[in-house]
Subunit: 334 residues, 2 copies
Amino acid sequence: MTTNPTWILKRHSSGMPIPDDFSFEENAVPTPRTGELLVRTLWLSVDPYMRGRLSPAKNYAAGAKIGDIMRGGGVGEVMASESSLFNVGDIVQADDFGWQPYTVVAADTALRLDPAAAPVQTSLGCLGMPGLTAYFSLLNVGRPKQGETVLISAASGAVGQIAGQIARIKGLDVVAVAGSDQKVEWCKTIGYRTGINHRTVENITEAVAAACPNGVDVYLDNTAGPIHDAAMMNINLFGRVVIVGTVALADRFDEPDIGPRHLRRILVSRVRVEGFLLDDFESDYVSARSQLLEWYREGALTAREDISHGIESTPHAFIRMLKGENFGKQLVKV
Amino acid sequence: MTTNPTWILKRHSSGMPIPDDFSFEENAVPTPRTGELLVRTLWLSVDPYMRGRLSPAKNYAAGAKIGDIMRGGGVGEVMASESSLFNVGDIVQADDFGWQPYTVVAADTALRLDPAAAPVQTSLGCLGMPGLTAYFSLLNVGRPKQGETVLISAASGAVGQIAGQIARIKGLDVVAVAGSDQKVEWCKTIGYRTGINHRTVENITEAVAAACPNGVDVYLDNTAGPIHDAAMMNINLFGRVVIVGTVALADRFDEPDIGPRHLRRILVSRVRVEGFLLDDFESDYVSARSQLLEWYREGALTAREDISHGIESTPHAFIRMLKGENFGKQLVKV
């Protein structure tokens, strides 16, 4: 417990973040104050929303300042507890672990995990923020109806893979858009009827039309960019477009996104385009988590993880996730 | 009853329609068949949705073919009835009058008007399609809440003027965007708190920010184009954007509309953007009409009309409305 090498934000990113935006600095092992826990980091999660933190622009993810410790979801073991809620040895999940081996978290933001119920890192994936995002964005905002076609971008990613499986469980027709043939093939094994490799397809709009012969009723948009346009060109009457993520804009985050707008189509087809943020559904987390856990334990829900090893690999894992080079939920095993 | 000069579609319009897209041709006075009425046209309505009919592209307004009689909403007097529903002398409103002095309408699409209740042409404006559009788009899709700010484009137009007054009646803070200082001033007399002349303002985004110090909660979008962008740049958390019309695109109707997209803002602020078509609310027409009539008779609802005279002026009236040169609901008095 003598060293605590920590990732610090060195500069804000205007385009795609690069390793040199972060610096790896020795840091003291922090001391928990009243209501806090000292935690040994076991797993860190890197997620698209963190891109917003690196931008000086207004965002829902509070911006990180130069010199701040990088933060994100994590799982760890309680080493010291200044809270009656947790004991030393408990395994906890919280949303603001530092990118460091030892971190302090507020006890009232931590969740105790039962390692016997599911592997603890699933609390960062299918049973955590991405799983809940998939659940509420698809069911509560997309509101698919029997027989409808659901199109999902970043379909093998942390959110997409769970949304696709929930759609399958609900008996919907579900189509993947992913970034490699290998990802598309895997998507088919978890319940997507078919899929499109958006990196190699010649015309993404025509490919969506061919893959969705009845059109698109719900589009779960994890990417924005050209896949969004292709979905809009194939959206059905009363279609719903849930804006969950914009990872395709990660490399031009603070620039205006110029391209075709779809207002005539939104009007003519009475489309609903709606932004999604998980926090808005907090009052229903408990019931959704328990449903996800039930599916997971039944084997109805598969979780594919892409694991990077060592605290030193965290920025690399984050950047490859933004570039779509991960295959499954990107984690860092510390 | 011997001549019936009629406006015929001569060619489809790719940009802004011009008078030469229509030809004025002698036409026989039609003979009603069973279930039909022969009607003498008193008023014709020209509305933005008709722009879609002139386009060969897919639209909710069924496209007109070359050689077709131009059609639209009208009010007229029944000259001959082949239906037990109407008698000669009845004044009726229907949505598919020809642009001609004598026209045939299906009795089951006609509505009998009571000239004592309100001037008959209000059935084409504040008590008809535009009034119902304002009512449902604002209240059922925009769903404004107490204390919220509503921004309305084409604010003195057929839909905008009614929406603005309904917002005022509901106690909302309502702000106009219109195309002249005169229109803006008039908007203030019917309940808009303030307004913006989008044709002369230097920076429309800043002007919306200044006019809406608490941001925009509901944007009733009758125009698309730069006003849409300015509204999006000022939209509040959980804002609603109702896409009612796209008249700003009338001159480039079939081209892709290229410009800034707002997906990050939609995501971050959980904005709902939704297309509106009046037909979807048909089951509630009767109650909404009766509410509008009540407000009208109480004097709570004012209707400003811009009247063009003579059947020969119909294309001119239509085009000036598309260009925003009208001031109030554009009608043709035949």
